[in-house]
């Protein structure tokens, strides 16, 4: 039997094999697929001491060159056979899809959809930068000074490195840090434990397109190593649940990507026409296997709550687990069955407390939790909650889960709390204005647009340009 490929630490240069390793395994069979080096925290800190020089080198490259480089990375990312290490182990695109599916539980079809999403970001980087910078001339990224809308502007660098502590739930999240490289900021990535594949593949594709290794670090590491990244990079993105992210809440150098608690709000003017919006509701809840923070986890209506829940349950209950390589598969398996067990138990306890009913239960045979081909799945679940403050009404789980609640329109903003995405299906002026003005709504879709829809020219989950650059006042004398 050939030895397992070793996925090394990439320290902005040659591959480094740690003596501390973990195996990533096929979640169904337990078969190890690779050995992954674990960087000790000291390595992260030591390498970050040279971040300034590395950033200077990336910043010396013209923006046009970096945008071309991103575009050239599309083909190797989607099609290429790329190195896993410096020892000759490689991975084709198909092998990547299978490996990621095996370790994360995501079906092949969804992995491919996520690849497409990442490819789009690489390909459309110029448009994404326009969105992030609100139309700034890209040349200003080279010089740091320029004119925008007739006003002189100048930007300082906020950080010499962007640290990113990644999750394992969906490969699509990698699209969030990707523009940093076009913004001339080296990245320091900590992959999720079950998902070294995607960030590595992106970096290898960029390397194949000409990005120098000094522009990126890849540090599979422990909790301590993650803390070293968050403390040592001038700016960081942290993905995680509320417990993981709590110590960094309020830290301006750390952008937190926690649970999204995204929502669809139906206004009083559209409530009677809820049936025409059912497709939007289904797509909001179930797209990407319900694994994203932009999936809706609450639907807020002024009336017809029971009917909406019933119709949605009928549609979602039809989504059944399918084998990972089935092109129609849209549900993800749980790589760690105890997570599914915990979620299932939490929902059961919430229902037992009263005031909430699992409407999907009537539409399916058997339990919420099922196994297929050795994998554990949770089937889509619609819970009708009597009150918006029920413990199941404003929560988020890693599968297609949604609560339906009735809230009078003039109470909606107070009731929904912080929400990453809100789709507001309403022309009611008061409700629209209240949502537009609410600081708790990070992204607002006006009209029947699924919460899970992404416009790449619209920065969501924070504006990376504003995170990595600080605008300063500037005065320029003529000719200077």
């Amino acid at each position: 039997m050939p030895s397992l490929p070793h996925i090394p630490v990439l320290r902005h240069g040659p591959a480094y094999e740690s003596l501390d390793t973990v195996e990533v395994r096929d979640h169904r069979t337990g078969t190890p697929l690779a050995v992954v080096s674990q960087a000790n925290a000291g390595i992260v800190r030591r390498d970050l001491r040279k971040a300034g020089a590395r950033a200077a080198s990336l910043r010396a490259r013209p923006i046009d060159e970096l945008l071309d480089l991103c575009a050239r990375a599309v083909e190797p990312f989607l099609e290429g056979t790329l190195p896993l290490n410096d020892a000759g182990d490689e991975q084709s695109a198909d092998q990547y899809v299978r490996a990621l599916s095996a370790t994360s539980g995501m079906p092949h079809a969804l992995v491919r959809a996520n690849m497409e999403k990442i490819a789009t970001v690489l390909r459309d980087m110029p448009a994404i930068l326009r969105g992030l910078t609100r139309g700034l001339d890209p040349a200003v990224l080279d010089t740091g000074v320029g004119v925008q809308n007739g006003v002189p502007v100048s930007y300082a660098d906020a950080a010499d490195a962007l640290g990113v502590v990644l999750p394992s739930n969906s490969p699509g999240v990698n699209s969030i840090w990707l523009p940093a490289l076009a913004l001339k900021t080296p990245v320091v990535l900590k992959p999720g434990r079950e998902e070294p594949w995607t960030p590595l593949r992106i970096l290898r594709a960029l390397e194949a397109a000409g990005l120098p290794r000094e522009a990126f670090g890849f540090y599979p590491t422990t909790h301590d190593g993650a803390a070293a990244i968050l403390e040592g990079c001038g700016r960081s993105q942290l993905f995680g649940d509320a417990r993981t992210t709590a110590p960094y809440a309020g830290n301006p150098a750390v952008e937190i990507h926690g649970p999204g608690r995204s929502k669809v709000v139906l206004g009083p003017d559209e409530a009677d026409r809820w049936e025409t919006h059912l497709d939007v509701l289904v797509a909001s809840v179930a797209r990407n296997g319900g694994r994203s923070c932009i999936n809706a986890s609450t639907i807020v209506v002024p009336a017809h709550g029971d009917a909406v829940a019933e119709a949605l349950a009928a549609r979602l209950a039809a989504i059944e687990p399918r084998p990972a390589d089935d092109p129609e598969a849209t549900l993800c398996a749980f790589a760690n069955p105890s997570v599914a067990e915990w979620i299932d138990g939490t929902i059961a306890a919430g229902l037992a407390a009263g005031g909430a009913v699992d409407v999907t239960a009537r539409h399916r045979d058997g339990d919420r939790s099922v196994t297929l081909d050795g994998s554990t799945y949770l089937r889509p679940t619609v819970v009708r909650c009597e009150r918006p403050d029920h413990e199941l009404a404003n929560t988020e789980f890693l599968f297609p889960y949604v609560a339906v609640v009735e809230v009078p329109s003039d109470h909606v903003v107070a009731a929904i709390g912080p929400s990453l995405v809100v789709t507001a299906i309403t022309r009611d002026p008061a409700l629209r204005q209240a949502l537009i003005r609410s600081p708790h709504v990070e992204r607002l879709n006006l009209g029947p647009i699924p919460t899970s829809h992404v416009d790449w020219d619209q920065p969501h989950e924070g504006n990376l340009f504003e995170f990595l650059r600080v605008r300063r006042a500037v005065a320029r004398d003529e000719g200077w």
């Binding site: 000291g42 390595i43 030591r46 001491r49 999750p167 422990t222 995680g240 993981t244």
Partner: protein
């Protein structure tokens, strides 16, 4: 006159080591249980157990007739109960361990640390720890044996020693209360002081912990600061950490001497070829004065097999202290006897059950 309890020739084989240990057990038991020299605590125990210790304990295995030493006794028993009658007229030193919360364990002592560290000194390389060159200790001083021991070791080699204190009880309390900013500020405070000494005084040798060594290396180049040898104690020495310390923090230029030891044992010697063994460090207790065994956590009367993980059990056999089969809060891999130390060793020592605390990442 050579005293068999205080110095013994190094045995040539595991069989010789076992014989030597059994003879040492007999001498130590005779000392602690005799009416003239013995220790009140043990004399009373033997009486309560109806045990004729000198008759019945003639081998290391026979120590099982004594109760496993309970650390609680070092908190609750009056010190006088542990003073051998032979030392009744000598004032003693009180050394503490633990004490982050509640009462620390207290061991009393006279000469043990000098005997242990003088013996250890002969294992140090004079190029890495030049006789006469100054030492700097950065670590727990206060009521600990370590502080006196390191100064003694330096002096024994003709060297003076500077000290920067780190109070581990305060650090542990800050971490338990999740005051990480305060913990960090305190570490900075400690390192600031160390940096000042290194800047203004010529120092050739360091004693510190792996974490402090790493943090010091983030501020300055340790070889450029003139350090030639680092003597390092602590249980945070997994192979990758040791490799990182040797290759990067010490820049491949400074001799790294790890040790495992504590107030109750003395200090264990490491196998010097660790770099060629994947940076896995094996320690051998200073037998016959102390014996470390690696036992099954669920059945500590049974040793684990060689190369298996188990809990560290310590037996100390000196004139000052008889401490049979004390279960440490550490775990290790049981290692085979070697040519230089023909008795079992303990590898990759780390806090007990450290691996179970490895952070399980969130689902996102």
């Amino acid at each position: 006159m050579s005293d068999p309890i205080e110095s013994a020739p190094r045995p040539a084989s595991p069989e010789e080591a076992a014989e030597q240990l059994d003879a040492h057990v007999r001498a130590t038991v005779a000392w602690h249980f005799s009416a003239e020299t013995g220790t009140p605590f043990w004399i009373d125990r033997a009486r309560d157990l109806g045990l004729d210790a000198v008759e019945e304990i003639t081998t290391f295995a026979d120590l099982a007739r004594l109760p496993r030493f309970d650390g609680e006794w070092l908190r609750s028993e009056p010190h006088a109960r542990f003073v051998p009658r032979a030392f009744a007229d000598r004032p003693y030193t009180i050394f503490e361990t633990g004490g982050t919360t509640g009462m620390p364990k207290q061991r009393i002592g006279w000469d043990d640390y000098k005997i242990d560290y003088a013996a250890f000194s002969s294992t140090l390389d004079d190029d890495a720890f030049p006789p006469g060159g100054a030492w700097l200790m950065i670590g727990p001083t206060g009521p600990r044996r370590l502080r006196l021991a390191i100064e003694f070791l330096a002096n024994h080699r003709g060297s003076p020693c500077y000290f920067v204190d780190l109070d581990p009880r305060w650090v542990k309390r800050l971490i338990r209360e999740r005051q990480f900013d305060q913990a960090k500020a305190y570490m900075e405070h400690v390192l600031d002081q160390a940096e000042q000494i290194l800047k203004h005084r010529e120092v050739t040798a360091l004693f510190t912990t792996p974490k402090l060594l790493e943090a010091l290396g983030e501020r300055l180049s340790i070889p450029e600061a003139g350090i030639r040898g680092v003597f390092c104690g602590g249980t945070e020495m997994a192979p990758q950490n040791v490799r990182f310390l040797c290759e990067e923090v010490l820049e491949g230029e400074v001799t790294f001497v790890p040790t495992y030891g504590n107030t109750l044992m003395g200090l264990a010697e490491h196998e010097k070829d660790f770099a060629s063994n994947g940076y896995s460090i094996t320690y051998h207790a200073p037998q016959p004065r102390a014996v470390v065994r690696v036992v099954r956590p669920d059945d500590p009367d049974v040793l684990v097999d060689h190369d298996e993980w188990g809990r560290v059990e310590l037996t100390t056999l000196t004139r000052e202290l008889l401490l049979p089969r004390f279960l440490e809060r550490d775990e290790a891999i049981r290692r085979r006897p070697t040519a230089t130390h023909p008795w079992d060793g303990a590898g990759e020592v780390r806090p007990f059950r450290a691996n179970e605390e490895r952070i399980v990442e969130g689902v996102y």
